[in-house]
């Protein structure tokens, strides 16, 4: 699939694999203290060799920023709209272990390609440090303020619990029906001046910079090359 002026913002299965590996590598280099994104291959389950290996990206044990923020600020609810403090990035395991007075909320995030919409979709689940799943109300509290508001207004079409395409279990999913439209907008200016291959490499990183914030996962600007910093700074 060639990227051109009439590109529709979608991603082919092969390009998804390429973009996924690019995200893993750049994330690992730029953000070593953070849990890494890992590629999980999924062979066809009934035992025959498939021509095309499918899979998804997985980030395990992502610590909810609000639970850290809550501890630092004594859990003040007025901080709900504040941006996360910068020292979030400096938190290490030793510090986390010492704080046993409040439950930590951990999340697994999976990036799966939707065959229907031909774009990535974010699946996630939350649990305590002892592995017990979080209730929906707890997850709602962990969401950033603007996500909680959207969830309240359009509950059924923003985020629902549905079956993980590969794991046969209920996971929370963000509905991807509008993704191709805004991904096309995001790359519209770039498509005419950038090589196709670079757009494929950049796709999931750009997608994650938008979608990750819905669940409180911020993508550091360092994972983008310098010439892209200008684009994102101007859009903010």
């Amino acid at each position: 699939m060639g990227f051109s002026s009439n590109w529709d913002g979608t991603l082919s299965p092969n390009d998804f694999n390429i973009s996924a590996r690019a995200l893993c590598e750049k994330w690992k280099v730029t953000y070593p203290v953070f849990p890494p994104w890992a590629w999980v291959p999924c062979p066809r389950p009934f035992g025959v060799t498939s021509r095309q290996v499918e899979g998804y990206l997985s980030l395990e044990g992502f610590c909810c920023p609000k639970s850290i923020e809550g501890e630092i600020d004594n859990g003040s609810s007025s901080k709900e709209e504040a941006t996360c403090p910068t020292e979030e990035e400096a938190v290490d395991d030793a510090t986390l272990v010492q704080r046993n007075d409040r439950e930590l909320h951990l999340y697994d995030l999976h990036i799966v390609r939707s065959s229907s919409y031909r774009v990535p979709a974010l699946y996630f689940r939350g649990y305590n440090c002892d592995g017990q799943p979080l209730a929906l109300d707890d997850i709602k509290k962990d969401l950033p303020y603007h996500s909680s508001k959207i969830l309240k207004d359009s509950r059924w079409t923003f985020m629902t619990q549905e079956e993980h395409p590969y794991l046969n279990r209920p996971w929370y999913a963000l509905h991807p029906c509008g993704t191709s439209d805004w991904m096309k907008l995001l790359f519209d200016n770039e498509a005419s001046v950038t090589e196709n291959e670079e757009i494929v490499q950049q796709y999931l990183l750009s997608w994650l910079s938008v979608v990750g914030q819905v669940v409180g996962l911020r993508t550091p600007l360092e994972v983008f090359s310098k010439k892209h910093n200008a684009m994102f700074c101007s859009s903010v």
Binding site: W156, Q161, P165
Partner: protein, 367 residues
């Protein structure tokens, strides 16, 4: 002239006779209550039967709040799969009611407590089913048209009427509303236009269809695999875990080849290429064999005795499709796929296909 084809009428009237028993852990009276007998619509969903079932068993339930779910021989049933698809998928062999001399029913258990939240997505009654239906419809619209604006822009009265006509089994009312979504891509593109669609053109409605048509068909494939030593479908063992069923939510692209009809067999080949030989020449050979043996069943068409398979250079024997079932019937493989889509689709515009595959014995396999 009425709305919809005769085949569509049969699909909408399709029903599964259910014999629903209350799970023994929830019986608080003696003797046990007799089972509830319900004729469930094929295209419907199990939670929509709860208003009929609940009053029947309420006097014997223990205290607590209701979280209704169903199981078949211990397997929790996924409520978001249409009832007819669950039946076609799980009752492949001797469980088929018409094979039995006794009353032909599908025996299920209903629970009002202890929802298996780790296995089933939550269901809060009719509202959850409605939105599962709407979201599937939106997804289907995106596949067919390249966007789902027609579904998103439905007026509230239209959306309500669409859902009511569906849950009431009113085919004509439902087709009138859904025609506004412009999802009749297959009928209009079919080379054999034996079906004429009567779409009401509303001048006030913005038409988002047209150039965006993708030629893709929404398909959900449910795959059961059986061991090599099981030759008779009557001997297929009961499924005790959903991990034994593969589920593919994957659109089918209908390739337009001048003068050649895209058949159901062609569609299955694009979805399950592993079950067909890789070489294109073999594909053409198999296609010819299938057309010549049009009267034969799929089993004999792809039998082990086929010399092509014996000459295969692959180390392992290819998987073999034993059965394809759609809306309770086993269509001939050379039937035009456009006919299958136009007539056998569910109301949310998804074609649900159940497939039974015989795979080679894997000594390392752990179920």
């Amino acid at each position: 002239m009425g709305v919809g084809t005769e085949a569509q009428k049969y699909v909408w009237e399709g029903a599964i006779p259910l014999q629903i028993h209350l799970h023994e852990s929830e019986i608080t009276t003696l003797p046990s209550p007799p089972p509830a007998l319900i004729l469930a619509p094929r295209i419907g969903y199990l939670p929509l039967l709860v208003p009929l079932i609940k009053p029947y068993f309420s006097s014997t339930l223990p205290p607590g709040s209701d979280t209704v779910w169903f199981d078949y021989k211990g397997l929790p049933l996924k409520w978001y799969i249409p009832t007819g698809v669950l039946f076609d998928l799980l009752c492949i062999g001797p469980e088929r009611p018409w094979n039995l001399t006794s009353d032909p029913v599908w025996i299920l258990q209903v629970h009002f407590r202890g929802y298996p939240g780790d296995l089933l997505s939550p269901c809060e009654g009719e509202e959850s089913v409605k939105w599962s239906f709407i979201n599937s419809l939106k997804e289907a619209a995106y596949i067919i048209n390249g966007n789902c604006k027609n579904v998103m822009n439905m007026s509230q009265p239209d959306q309500l009427e669409l859902w009511r006509s569906f849950s009431n089994g009113n085919m004509e009312g439902n087709l009138r509303i859904s025609s506004k979504l412009k999802l009749g891509a297959v009928g209009e593109e079919s080379a054999t236009k034996v079906i004429s669609h009567h779409h009401q053109q509303s001048s006030s409605e913005t038409d988002f269809a047209g150039p965006g048509r993708t030629g893709r068909i929404p398909v959900r494939l449910y795959i059961r695999s059986i061991e090599e030593d099981v030759d008779d479908l009557e001997d297929v063992p009961h499924i005790d875990s959903w991990d034994r069923i593969s589920y593919l939510n994957r659109p089918v692209e209908m390739h337009k080849d001048e003068g050649k009809i895209f058949t159901l067999s062609d569609a299955i080949k694009t979805l399950l290429p592993e079950c067909f030989e890789d070489e294109p020449s073999i594909d053409e050979e198999m296609s010819r064999i299938e057309l010549e043996d049009g009267a034969k069943s799929p089993e004999s068409t792809l039998s082990n005795k086929d010399p092509e398979n014996l000459g295969s250079a692959r180390g392992t024997e290819p998987s073999e499709i034993k059965l394809i079932r759609i809306q309770g019937i086993e269509p001939k493989w050379d039937i035009p796929f456009s006919w299958v889509v136009s007539n056998l689709m569910n109301p949310e515009y998804y074609l649900h296909i159940c497939v039974c595959i015989r795979v080679a014995q894997d000594p390392d396999k752990i179920w």
